[in-house]
Symmetry: C2
Subunit: 337 residues, 2 copies
């Protein structure tokens, strides 16, 4: 188990261990012949540099803490994938933490990450209260949020333009001939405020009257959406389309509609938001607004790297454009049904 250290190869090479360090680090304070000799020797002896010891002196760990409410969630696992790939490409490793289910847990893991001396933190907040919850730590280490923030929050983040997403989506529905569009889902958290806002704005421009079916659920999930949609479908369906605040909710609506024998998209059109991978499944084929997860992830680590490596201070907000993914749950009313 005892691994070979700098000293070992230094002794074997007959040089000081400072020299070995320089040979490996690509410093030009060393002769090219000795460098090659040493590198070859390191290879033979199976030397691998000890990051812990290096971190000790450089005061940089090359570690990025990734905290997500729960990694077994399609949105977050996709983000995690791209973030890890990108981070590793730049010499960083990812320390993964689930912050769910409550704020206490979230605070705990952030504190833990600080103890671990991570160079930066990438966090998708579990609730709008997250900012306040961990504010004590966000000024001790570079942090970027993956989610739209409250306006004027002193934090950096990258997010999709939620408001624009719902705007584009309802306009699409309008162009398909829909005039009675119901917005379904949460409204009280930041992200959902923006989404509702875009819907309202589109309605105003298009001369439609906004209609809501709200939930007080703290978390959007298929099952929550299903329960809520069952309530909804107990009443008469006097609208031709539903804009669900998230894909999870939309999936719940789909299930409830099937139960109630409401044909989608025959009788009712449905559009979601996020483009989680399940939406592309056979028999689902949900039309939705896509969050560019890959771009979000790589831009977030770029932003974080900039803070870490260049010490960039201020707060930067990166807003990405959502795109409409047309699939099979929206009917064009101009075509015969």
């Amino acid at each position: 188990m005892k691994s070979v250290t700098l000293k070992d190869v230094a002794k074997a090479a007959g040089v000081s261990y400072a020299t070995v360090s320089r040979a490996l680090s690509g410093s030009h304070q060393i002769g090219s012949d000795t460098r090659e000799r040493i590198i070859k020797l390191c290879d033979e002896m199976g030397y691998t540099t000890n990051y812990v010891a290096r971190s000790m002196v450089t005061k940089r760990t090359g570690l990025i803490g990734l905290v997500v409410p729960s990694i077994d969630n399609q949105f977050m696992s996709e983000i995690a994938y791209y973030a890890e790939m990108s981070a590793r490409g730049h010499g960083y490793n990812i320390m993964l933490c689930n912050s769910g289910p409550d704020l206490k847990q979230e605070k705990t893991v952030v504190k833990l990450l600080l103890s671990r001396q991570v160079d930066g933190i990438l966090i998708v907040p579990q609730s709008p209260k997250t900012y306040e919850n961990i504010r004590a730590y966000t000024d001790q280490v570079p942090t970027v949020f993956l989610s739209e923030n409250l306006r004027d929050q002193p934090q950096s983040y990258v997010a999709v333009d939620n408001s624009r997403g719902t705007y584009i989506g309802t306009k699409y529905l309008y162009d398909l001939g829909h005039r009675d569009i119901l917005y379904f889902g949460r409204r009280h958290t930041t992200t959902h405020q923006f989404r509702a806002e875009g819907y309202i704005r589109a309605c105003q421009e298009l001369g439609l009257t906004p209609r809501f079916f709200n939930s007080e659920f703290t978390r959007s999930s298929i099952n929550n959406g299903y329960q809520l949609a069952k309530e909804l479908f107990a009443k008469p369906v006097d609208y031709s389309a539903i804009f669900a605040s998230t894909d999870s909710n939309a999936l719940g609506v789909l299930k409830a509609a099937d139960d109630a024998h409401i044909n989608i998209p025959g009788q009712l059109s449905l559009i979601g938001f996020d483009n989680i991978s399940s939406t592309a499944l056979p028999r689902i084929e949900l039309t939705t607004m896509e969050q560019p997860k890959r771009d979000m992830a790589v831009q977030a680590v770029d932003m974080l790297r900039d803070k870490i490596e260049n010490g960039t201070q201020g707060y930067v907000h990166q807003i990405l454009m959502p795109t409409l993914i047309k699939r099979s749950t929206c009917r064009d009313l101009h075509e015969p049904g």
Copy 2:
């Protein structure tokens, strides 16, 4: 950015920093009054112990490397979730690495993890060649595999009993009245060899003739399954049920069946393997064999902890039982259709 160290609080408390260390570590080599005074002081000064420095001397990092082919995969992200929760509960943190797409990448990340001085590695192999690929490292650090191994491989692992899974599944189909069951999917990797084996064994016991529709795909995905199933459905459907080697494949079959207007389960029954979360979706409701991901993950970290903390040497193989999840894709032929 300069954080407060042991020395700082030692100076403030007027004691040596060894004493502060002892106060925090709960050693009994210290007076209870001084301990409390110091702990209080640490709190006030906002001291957090530096894990990097600690690791330096204890030669333990409390880090577990988790390497998965790609985290944006439902099976792996669920495993990751439970593994992280369990590990953190025992004082470990997870360093996440995607090993895809090739063996070279996999080897690279494992080597990286060693440099990072992780205490142990949890790995879901990307192919049967993984064992050979990283053998040089697995004896340098405790490692447990999450997947069924080649028999007699000198490695520890936890896995589901794949053979038993397909056995149970085809027996279920038999009990439903099915006599012509087609096995669909890969056969050449370890896991799939076992799965095919269980199917064959059940057929023999039940007096059925095994039938295969193989693929040479290196990776089972919905789309690969779809392409293969299209070929399959170009020929006459002279069987009443399909056992798909994975849920992903099953989903592809579902899509192709819809395309070909083959009613599932009306004309054709379908069963999958893994119970990935998509299978529970509305309109899908795939009957499948469940891998107990939670148990697999926690048992894997327990096994790893045992190796790390007790220095347990040998190779232990933990085989978990799969369970049948009955949903809506298998028809009971005894009932009128």
